[in-house]
Amino acid sequence: MPLSFLNPALLVGLAAAAVPVIIHFLSQRRLRRVAFSDLRFLREEEAHQARRRGMRRWLLMLLRILIIACLVLAAARPHWGGLPGGGGRATLFVVDASASMQVQLDDGRRAFDAAIALVGEMMGALPADASVQAIAAGPQAVPLFATWLPAGDAARAALAAAQVTDGAVDLESALREAARIATEAPSEPVDVVLVSDLQETDLTALDAAAGPLARAGARVLVQRVGDPVPPGAVVGLDLPGRALQPGETVQVRAQVRPDRPDQAFWLELDGQRVAEAVAGSTREGGAPVEVTFTVTAPGPGLHVGRVGKEADRLPLDDTRAFALEVPSRLEVVIAHGADRDGLGRGGWRYLARALAPDARTAGLFAVRAMPVDSLAATGLDGADLLVLADAGSPGRQLAATLRPWLEAGGAAMIMVGDPGQAQDLRAGVLPLLDLPAQARWVARADGQAERARIVDPGHPVFADLGDEALASLAAARWQRYFAVDEGDAGVLLVGDGGAPLLLEGQLGRGRWALLPFHLRADATDVMLNPVFLPVVQRLAARLVAGGVRAFDQPVGEELVLPVPAGRLGVRPGEAATALQVAGPPSNTRRPARLRWQAAGPAVVAPPAQHAGIHVFTSRDDTLGLVAATVPPAEMTTRRLAPDALAGALRSAGIDQVLDLEQASTAGFTRALAGRDLARWLLAAALVLLGVELWVGRRVG
């Protein structure tokens, strides 16, 4: 009901409205009887005005009733609208501190600054005895005051500590935190004022978050501020999914949303603008379009880059940073079975030549080849990639011990093509790779050799090779191989018979590839195909890199940088000291810690609040870079209607949800206390009194 009273107890005074009626009837009971000399003039006068006076008497009584009712109602302090019993005695402001609140408004301020200013004005409009608290709601909900404060200058000054983040608002955690703080409020009920740009978000999970708030008896007021996010943005970035070789030309694809057709986007690497691409046209509904940059891989080391466009009113999403780690040299250990007929085993020599074609020049790969028996002595320390080529029974024994190394970030390329090793494959290799322990030997006659098909030409192994080169791969033939079940693994090549010929998968942090054939002429002629060499190199680079060493994490999430344990000089379970992370906005250093997990060690830092490159360091080394990026949710140009959020909150159990229609202090106070009707009632009483006097004089 929109009508409420601050002093409802005074409404009993409405009974006083009956006083004129009582007086009317009492006056009739106290009728005085007078024996008069002559009624002639009285009767004439009475006849003259009896009817008119009768009506006026009833009118007078009505006016007096109304006057009393108006005065009593005014004393009860009626308010139209607002919260029941008024509001604002304990007010908790939840200010959206997400990235979209950095939209620049027409007056030059950011929406967040305008929101903070508005909250300050709202605090100033609260009653003198009100208490306030505020939460900056970004990826985490951060209370701005240590405790509830009186709504005075101190509270308004403390608002200056509020910081906007580059992350997405977590409405659920904000509401939970609000519920927690509401329980500490000095008085009830608590009015929660949500000040936000109300970017579109998923409201389905609101029920659980709003429940505690509803139980705390809080009322919610929704205040929309700011402008919608402008459409232009760099939404996503696809870096080559493999380790890059310095000088290699690669293509970087970015998902962008241009402001206008034919808008230019650029790519910076290490501060130099190295590529440009044009987004042809915008898409219906603001869906991203893809642009491709052709980039030459930089030299070995850590690199930072940005993809961007000219800034609009939200510059934050107009650039997107990335970090790139280019390895200087990848150590490859080829462990092969005993050579047979002096021709080697499984074609390991071909592989060695494929990865390091010229041993005299420093390429990406440094290859060491040894019999698998020797591997136990040398170990895998320092090896980035292990290639097992027809390793046989020793390889089977090795596989049993290989799992921890793989899970910690190792890489393995396993090639099994000798029918005599079927049991080694089933009992050793396939269980290691979490594949079904089933392998069927397939041997085709010469005329029945199978062709292979590339499952995904866009896969990093095949990307950028060109359609003609890839088409040539289809000419290769396979006659002898193991048909295995791919399970959950990815299939890169598949034969005519449907059996996978090249599989890849992940084990912990490590990657593996399985070639269920070996590189002998009686098994396949793929070695003769010119495109096979780069495929092998790329496959090895992809396995070693664990994808690309470009870590892209949304702002608001924990920053995680996987690192080789040996690099930190600690053993599993031990803690590393002096780990730090530095990042935007002012390269402030924050402590990081080492987390041991199944996939190996990682350096972990608290969630970043700002987008950009964050640098992990140990005491005397740079461990790596992580690019914190604006969450895609903050780039959406759509906004929630305030009543949509209000409806969701109501359905979540919060009875009182008000939409503050306008960003104004008056609107806020009206929403809290409603429109004060007391003065109108007093004015009405005065007018009625004037009418009563006028009518009374006419009657008298």
Partner: protein
């Protein structure tokens, strides 16, 4: 206490004793008295000295006073004649009204007033009679000038019954026909009747050669209708007639109507040379009577 003592208090008597009762009218009569007469030379009596005003005839200047005091005074004479006065006392029910228990009813007030007039007249050796009436004559005391007449008049005033309705016109016509000689007719009444009938009766007296003095008595509350709250009025003359009203609401209109009525009575009386004296029961009887007689004295 006899009737005379009941009606005429010593206070009232002493007030009237200081005044000369000067009848305005010239009537034919046999007795000389204090009243000036149109018949000059029949009898004259010194009345008072008055300062001589330039332009007046020097006939009456008292030269002896002038010799003694060096001031010019003239002697004023009043010729005396006999006056036959008839007091008409309205005893109708409306005369029983009083708006305040501390004040007399109009009838009681009228009785005192009539007694005063009778006293004054008899003191001048005039003849005075009494007719008490309501819708009809209730009591008659023939006019005589003997000393004992005062007792008779006062007795009549005391014994006059309180009547019922009012029908002034026929009663006045009746009385006018029954008064054998011209004289002074003094009507003590509230005149609460149809004005045309009342005036018709009064004109009848004039037609018969009488001088008419109307003493209209009203209660102050009849004039101002000052009753608080809601009142149910009932008519004294017809108790079956009632009226329920709030006097505050009808007061203004009532006063207008009353004033109109009184103005008409004044106008008509003046037109027919009838003296109308309006009195209310909150005015002292002696003061009111004295004021009237003083005014008559200045006029004649």
């Amino acid at each position: 206490m006899n009737a005379e003592q009941e009606l005429l208090t010593p206070e009232l008597t002493s007030q009237l004793d200081r005044l000369d009762v000067l009848a305005r009218l010239l009537v034919e009569g046999f007795l000389t008295g204090l009243h000036r007469s149109p018949y000059h030379g029949f009898s004259a009596e010194f009345a008072e000295y008055r300062r001589y005003q330039p332009g007046e005839p020097a006939t009456n200047i008292d030269w002896r006073v002038y010799a003694r005091s060096d001031r010019v005074y003239q002697r004023v004479f009043a010729e005396e004649t006999n006056l036959r006065g008839t007091l008409l006392l309205d005893c109708s029910a409306s005369m029983r009204f009083t708006g305040d228990e501390r004040r007399p009813t109009k009838l009681a007030y009228g009785r005192v007033l009539a007694a005063c007039l009778a006293y004054l007249l008899l003191r001048q050796n005039d003849a005075v009679g009494l007719v008490a009436f309501d819708e009809r004559p209730l009591l008659r005391v023939p006019a005589r000038s003997v000393r004992r007449q005062l007792f008779q008049v006062l007795k009549g005033l005391r014994e006059a019954p309180a009547g019922q309705g009012t029908d002034l016109g026929p009663v006045l016509h009746d009385v006018a026909e029954r008064i054998p000689r011209r004289g002074l007719v003094m009507l003590v009444s509230d005149l609460m009747d149809e004005p045309d009938q009342v005036l018709s009766g009064l004109k009848h007296f004039r037609h018969r050669g009488h001088e008419v003095l109307v003493l209209q008595i009203l209660d102050p509350r009849e004039v101002d209708l000052d009753f608080p709250g809601e009142v149910e009025f009932s008519s004294l003359e017809d108790p079956s007639l009632t009226l329920r009203t709030e006097p505050a609401h009808v007061r203004e209109g009532y006063r207008d109507r009353l004033d109109g009525w009184r103005a008409r009575m004044r106008r008509e009386c003046r037109r027919h040379l009838i003296d109308l004296v309006e009195l209310t029961t909150d005015q002292p009887v002696g003061a009111a009577l004295g004021a009237y007689l003083m005014k008559r004295g200045r006029l004649h």
